[in-house]
């Protein structure tokens, strides 16, 4: 049965069937081969939306006239804005934007309606949290149209001429934190979280798996070493690695991308600790589950994929459906991104970021806890 150039179909067949046999034996790899495409389909197909709508907006209405309500209604009808808060002071607006609770603040000045009717073109101010230009650009485009059409219903009869070509309202836009809408300002600080997640989870997921695969686990277990000594001993060196990575990104952000650094660098390094440790905890947990190094890498990938897609790194968090936002909120990267962007771009202080810190802390406790619980001190 020797074929062309000595190619034997029989040997080729044997090779193929051997590969299938081994593929079938490695259940986890097989599950991942099915699971990863499914996960991608669901995330890309249903969760991700690069044209985010229903963005949380606060309104500071100093006029309270028919016309100010018209304006708000038109924005709402554009589907890009969702009024979640009504506020009464400038300071409140600032705080909500700084903490990332809302994406926009619409300020309607006093006498808005009166000026409009007089044809003075009153000023309406839209302040945007522009840290992520992708989240705001479409909404901003939509509001221009909304501001023109808003008053069509009321500007009839004698007021008809007010529908001038410039529009009845002078809409001013104030893009906060990232006025030039430089994408890098948003991406580069975010990368810090993404790089840490990717490398640290993969490296530590290999840590115990490697010992088991090479047979060195047996020798380790026979010594009087305790589980916490093994696990923490494996985590600590990578915390150092994590900080080196952070340092590199901070320097690159400054020198290569000229990202403005508004907040405190020591604060950023301090609050990164639980995030780094949480990722290492995930890796260690995978490490105690995976049978071999390939499985460990696949599990890491399975964790990394939703982290990068649902955290608000690649696509605006607000644009995702509710279930995807819940899923994203369970991941430490989602909260860390808010912390990093908050400190770097908005100058957040420790008090400002506390709401994002406790979910990271909780995740850390769970991941390390599961890791320690799963770690076996015997070969059973």
């Amino acid at each position: 049965m020797s074929g062309f150039l000595g190619f034997s179909p029989a040997r080729f067949g044997a090779m193929v069937s051997k590969e299938f046999t081994q593929m079938r034996r490695d259940r986890v790899t097989f599950a991942m081969m099915v699971g990863i495409p499914l996960l991608q389909l669901i995330l890309f197909g249903f969760a991700i939306n690069s044209d985010p709508k229903q963005l949380p907006t606060a309104i500071l209405d100093n006029d309270r006239s028919v016309f100010s309500r018209d304006m708000a209604a038109a924005m709402k009808n554009s589907d890009y804005f969702k009024f979640t808060k009504e506020i009464s002071t400038e300071a409140e607006a600032d705080e909500l934007l700084r903490l990332g609770r809302i994406q926009f603040v619409l300020t309607i000045p006093q006498n808005f309606g009166r000026d409009l009717v007089r044809g003075v073109r009153p000023v309406a101010l839209l302040e945007a949290d522009a840290t992520d230009p992708a989240a705001t650009s479409n909404a901003v485009a939509a509001i221009r149209q909304a501001a023109t059409d808003a008053f069509n219903r009321d500007l009839t009869g004698p007021l008809l001429p007010l529908r001038a070509k410039d529009g009845p309202v002078d809409l001013r836009l104030h893009a906060r934190y990232n006025p030039e809408a430089v994408t890098q300002y948003n991406i580069v600080p975010g990368l810090m979280g993404v790089v840490l997640t990717m490398t640290l989870v993969i490296i530590t997921s290999l840590a115990i798996t490697r010992e088991r695969e090479r047979g060195t686990m047996e020798n380790l277990l026979i010594t009087p070493v305790r589980p916490t000594e093994v696990l923490l001993g494996k985590i600590l060196p990578y915390i150092v690695v994590g900080y080196i990575q952070m340092g590199l990104i901070v320097v690159a952000a400054r020198l290569l991308f000229a990202v403005p650094f508004v907040g405190s660098l020591p604060l950023l390094f301090l609050v990164s600790f639980p995030f780094i440790a949480a990722n290492l905890g995930v890796g260690i947990t995978f490490s105690t589950i995976a049978q071999n190094q390939l499985q460990a890498v696949q599990m890491s990938f399975f964790f990394f994929l939703p982290s990068i897609l649902l955290s608000g790194f690649m696509f605006p968090f607000q644009g995702m459906p509710q279930w995807a936002q819940w899923l994203g909120s369970a991941l430490p990267l989602t909260h860390y991104l808010r912390v990093v962007r908050g400190i770097v771009l908005k100058g957040n202080t420790f008090v400002d970021i506390v709401p994002h810190m406790w979910p990271i802390g909780l995740f850390l406790l769970v991941s390390v806890g599961v890791g320690i619980k799963r770690y076996r001190q015997t070969l059973d």
Partner: protein
Amino acid sequence: MNADGGHAVIDVTGLTKIFGRKTVVDHIDMRVNRGEIYGFLGPNGSGKTTFIRMLCGLLRPDDGHGTCLGFDVREQAELIKPHVGYMSQKFSLYEDMTVRENLDFIARMYAVADRAAGVARSIERMNLGRFRDQLAGTLSGGWKQRLALAACMIHQPSLLLLDEPTAGVDPMARRDFWDEVHKLAGEGITALISTHYMDEAERCHRLAYIAYGHLLATGTVGEIVSQEGLCTYEISGPDLYGFIDKLRGLPGVEQVVAFGVTLHVSGRDGDALAASLAPYGAAPLTLRRIPSNLEEVFISLMRKAVS
């Protein structure tokens, strides 16, 4: 032999381990005295490794009780570990670390006092000097074995559990290894060593033979051979291969083994065997009674266990 007048270092009763639905070690009793070199034999998959792992806390026994170095094997594994030197079947030190780094790491795990001196001493003792800074993964089989032995003795344990320490090692290296073990026994260290080599079994003070999780025989080499009561005859002459199948069918014949230019025929029923073999004493063949060796006894034990 029993340096301490029979003080038991290992004393376990009914030790049992079940994996899934398979009983790998089935109620095994064992008593090993201080300073003894105790050989542990049995076919592959007979439960030797599992038994050894239960003694030092790597596996939790499903049944049975007893002590190792005076500590309870079920409850006090953490107290046993510091005093045991264990050498696994597979090389289990770090291949990407040097000889010295490996020994240093193990010494730190056991909190060896004056670590540098301890590492230097064990390197010297095992003649590992010229490989000190070589990666463990690049050592040949025999030297890996020596490194593993050095590592399992670095904390000066009082009990060595060696799981097929000489598998795949050349005769010279095996000889050196056993000389070392005897030297240690002379210092009062106890050793439980599993092996497949009959010559190594003969170098042990006492032996245990297990098959399919059951303990089949214990004692000195002489005791085990005489307990089994096996008779063996040697047939020599030309063209012996033709007889092998014929001999196997005869009454009283349990084993026929070709040994170079002779055949060894054994059976437990001496009279029946003698009667069956009588025709094979005629020229050009010669027939003579020889003492049974350990291998024949073990194969006999194993066959009994199967049936």
